[in-house]
Amino acid sequence: MKELIEKLSSKYELQEVVYQRDNLVFAAISKENAIEAVTYLRDYEGYTHLVMMSCVDWIEDGKYQLLYLLHNPKLKNDIGIKVYIDRENPEMVSAHHLWKSVWTYQREMHESFGIVFPGSPRLEENFVVEGWDETPFMRRDFDTHEYAEKTYFPRGNRKTNDPAEYMRKKLYPNQPVTAKQRKDDK
């Protein structure tokens, strides 16, 4: 895995290289070079199997993180290429020409995060929800609990307990609450 990362870093600028396991490494590449790097890995390094594409919403940094996870069937190891894109104006180069399964992932991400992949087929079609006119539902700023309470007639009398507090009351009713526990509860 080390050799591959050295080879890659001689071509592209890599950031945040993390060796998670012996056979799994994550590396971040800039938005411009990402698809080129993925194509290189597929065609020359034998990473022919696209395991998955995913997206993480880092709302604090104002960024979306895309992930292309590739698997090498010969060496039996994986590399995850991470790409950070702007959250305000999310747009990414489409990779649907590389694998036949990519457009499905892109269609899902368009619906659940609102990321635009120009040129990707059937991008505007519904994937899992019908008639959705709120914020894309996987964004961190969409509150699913609030939406459900507003829309779906919650049945009253639903009791919810904070697990930590409830367990302490049940198990140790006579013990005073320490400052650390109070801090942990928050």
């Binding site: 396991r21 994550f26 395991v51 998955m52 069937p73 694998w99 499905t104 519904n126 899992v128 699913t144």
Partner: protein, 398 residues
């Protein structure tokens, strides 16, 4: 022959051209085509999904998969639950083999919090036993289910009964029939009950008997052979292009099995060889699954023989209510009955997961592969192709 005798002459213009491909042009206003919907109720044993078929006569010209009927938004829900609360939620992502999901989430949290090597040996063997039992339960529905799509209903009756016996063993082990919640972070929830091995052996003997009977019923049946042979062929070139995994990849000679490629738990200590075939059609896919049935029974016997008699079932873990996992990300995979399944797990140092994303084999099988393979097939074979790809919609939409 009969047409000639009756003097019936079909209108050649209305018949589909001999070779229908993805590029064949379709003019919907020409009154030659019809759109029919297959689903969203259960077509066979595959779950709720719909296929929008454009047909000419009985030939499928276009197919579009519609999913989302089982969408519950797990990935969003888990983001607002503690690690331990997210656990019972996440296993409901796949109802056929829920143990696979238990393993992902347990393994990813252990790996990210640094407890990966702390899990006791006995617990790992029990995990393997539970995973293989889940695979067996899935196959007992899947193999006869393939016959069911060709109207061989009796196999399904036998299979469901035997699956119920395995569910009884699960009930003994974990207390639940369908959603077991057995594999938890740090180990498993209970040790093997007394006399479990004997009762399991009893059931396995019944299943051995069933395996021989189902062979006679399905693979010696001329109708099944005629309809399944040469139907919906997967070629080795398609495997990487479409991301085909598991038995669907092995049916055309591409040997992909996570248990062999990236051994997890103690699969490297077991003696097995994943079956492969070369034809790539529905028949060989069913044949492989039938062989896998034999293999799984054998694996359960091996596991029960090789596992230690006693041991710890759990390692010491931090208080789950205040459990914070440092920032990190990982991908854990395993071989389910349908193929490679995995989970991308991101934490950000708080007490809740940042993001989880399930990679189910059906994500590719049921959408891009199915839409490609249905073109040019007969409407009557659509069920069979769906079941032979082992599509499971809950893992597409989560």
């Amino acid at each position: 022959m009969i047409n000639k005798f009756l003097g019936f002459k079909p209108d050649e213009k209305l018949l589909p051209s001999q070779t229908v491909t993805e590029d064949t042009e379709i003019d919907l206003s020409s009154h030659k085509y019809q759109k029919i919907w297959l689903g969203p109720n259960h077509p066979g044993v595959t779950g709720n999904m719909a296929i929008e078929l454009t047909v000419q006569g009985t030939t499928v010209m276009r197919a579009k998969t519609h999913v989302g009927y089982l969408h519950r938004g797990f990935e969003k829900l888990i983001e607002r639950r503690l690690f331990v609360q997210g656990f019972p939620t996440s296993i409901r992502m796949c109802v056929a083999e829920p143990d696979t999901n238990e393993y992902f989430i347990a393994r990813s949290t252990e790996e990210l919090s640094g407890y990966a090597d702390a899990v006791p040996e006995y617990a790992n063997w029990l995990r393997m036993l539970s995973l293989e039992m889940a695979r067996l339960a899935g196959l007992l529905r899947g193999v006869p289910g393939q016959g069911g799509t060709f109207a061989l209903g009796i196999g399904v009756q036998w299979g469901v009964y035997l699956r119920d016996l395995i569910l009884d063993r699960f009930e003994e082990l974990s207390g639940a029939r369908v959603y077991h919640m057995y594999i938890i972070p740090g180990g498993v929830r209970g040790a093997l009950p007394d006399g479990f091995k004997e009762r399991m052996e009893d059931n396995l003997r019944d299943i051995d008997d069933f395996i021989i009977r189902i062979k006679k019923l399905m693979f010696h049946n001329s109708v099944f052979k005629q309809r399944a042979k040469g139907l919906a062929v997967i070629t080795p070139e398609m495997v990487d292009k479409y991301g085909i995994v598991g038995t669907n990849a092995r049916c055309c000679g591409v040997k992909r099995d996570v248990r062999k490629d990236n051994p997890y738990l103690y699969y490297d200590k077991l003696d097995f060889d994943p079956p492969t075939a070369t034809d790539g059609d529905v028949y060989s896919r069913t044949w492989i699954r039938w062989q896998e049935l034999i293999q799984t029974v054998d694996l359960i016997r091996q596991i029960m023989a090789k596992m230690p008699k006693k041991g710890d079932i759990r390692c010491k873990m931090p208080n789950v209510l205040n459990w914070k996992i440092p920032k990190g990300e990982t991908y854990v995979r395993l071989e389910s009955g349908r193929g490679e399944m995995g989970m991308y797990y991101v934490t950000d140092g708080s007490d809740k997961p940042r993001r989880i994303n399930l990679r189910g084999p059906s994500y590719n099988h049921a959408i891009s592969v199915l839409e490609h393979m249905l073109i040019g097939q007969d409407v009557a074979d659509v069920h069979a192709i769906m079941v032979s790809l082992q599509t499971c919609p809950p893992e597409i939409e989560r």
